[in-house]
Subunit: 86 residues, 5 copies
Amino acid sequence: MRLGKVIGTVWAERKVPELKGCRLLVVQPVNASAKNAGKVLVAADPAMLSGVGDKVVFVTSTDATQVFPGIAPVNAAIVELVDSVV
Amino acid sequence: MRLGKVIGTVWAERKVPELKGCRLLVVQPVNASAKNAGKVLVAADPAMLSGVGDKVVFVTSTDATQVFPGIAPVNAAIVELVDSVV
Amino acid sequence: MRLGKVIGTVWAERKVPELKGCRLLVVQPVNASAKNAGKVLVAADPAMLSGVGDKVVFVTSTDATQVFPGIAPVNAAIVELVDSVV
Amino acid sequence: MRLGKVIGTVWAERKVPELKGCRLLVVQPVNASAKNAGKVLVAADPAMLSGVGDKVVFVTSTDATQVFPGIAPVNAAIVELVDSVV
Amino acid sequence: MRLGKVIGTVWAERKVPELKGCRLLVVQPVNASAKNAGKVLVAADPAMLSGVGDKVVFVTSTDATQVFPGIAPVNAAIVELVDSVV
């Protein structure tokens, strides 16, 4: 898992059927001091926890699919809206 | 998942049987401003969503296999043709 | 698996249900000489082995879920509190 | 999946039983212009598609095991012998 | 899979139960010319193939668990003791 900041939303008409209705956000990974750290990625937000500007914890890899009821071709998902890191 | 741009198509005569008939595209990962960000990779496009020049969302790791009806030795697949990122 | 140093704790009110009650720590990966090596990440500590300042071995990827009784959307977990590396 | 060039063969007497009789090749990842791009890795070639000097598509992660009849502790495998990239 | 050199052993009293009795080694990844290439990691050596100073092939990701009789929270394991690379 990593800390990240939500910086955008992806809009797409054509997609694989499994992603219909699934919100995809653009996330900038950050370090403990909220400085950019690593490449921008696209994460799903199935629990609708966050929006542009929010600091989040996201999970990558197959584990990301575990926040979906069924299986999905998704490998990054937002799992916590961060209040603070101490 | 990452944002990427399709920059080429792979042609190959000899391949493992599971990949017969599967189109493989060469993809350059990009950031939110469409600048190159990361190493070029090879992704399958089983839903035939895209061609050279298109901007896409691709998924990597085992999750890529979830857009295939059976299992396949594939670890990157195109899942959305991007209209815009806002 | 990697060597790391615990440098913080994540506090979050809103989270996916699977992470209720699960302690998430901020971990700085280090090399064999305890120098910083790689990007800060967030790891679960389900066995309550460590706190801020401790040196640990953490596991990433789906394997991290194997220290949980059920499945969980977690891809990094602390598995050993390091005494020494020789 | 990535594009790569085969640059060597691994010889080993002592190995885990699952790898007896499995040819391991040393592969240099390359970009679309065949320039070196990323760290050298070791990949299995179960379909005997390639030899030193060949350009290939290889798959990494658990997906690599899907080209083996049983399971195997392998996380990179050659899946196509590349003719051209256009 | 990657080529690596064993550079140390991890000693730890407190650990998750699944790792009791499992030897963990500190491994420096190397390239085909045995030069350091990439970050130091911790790998299990369940087949007791190697010791400090040895050159090895190690596997990472979930595949590492396939050299264990049961499941284990391990994502790197040594699978071959390298004699030579040609």
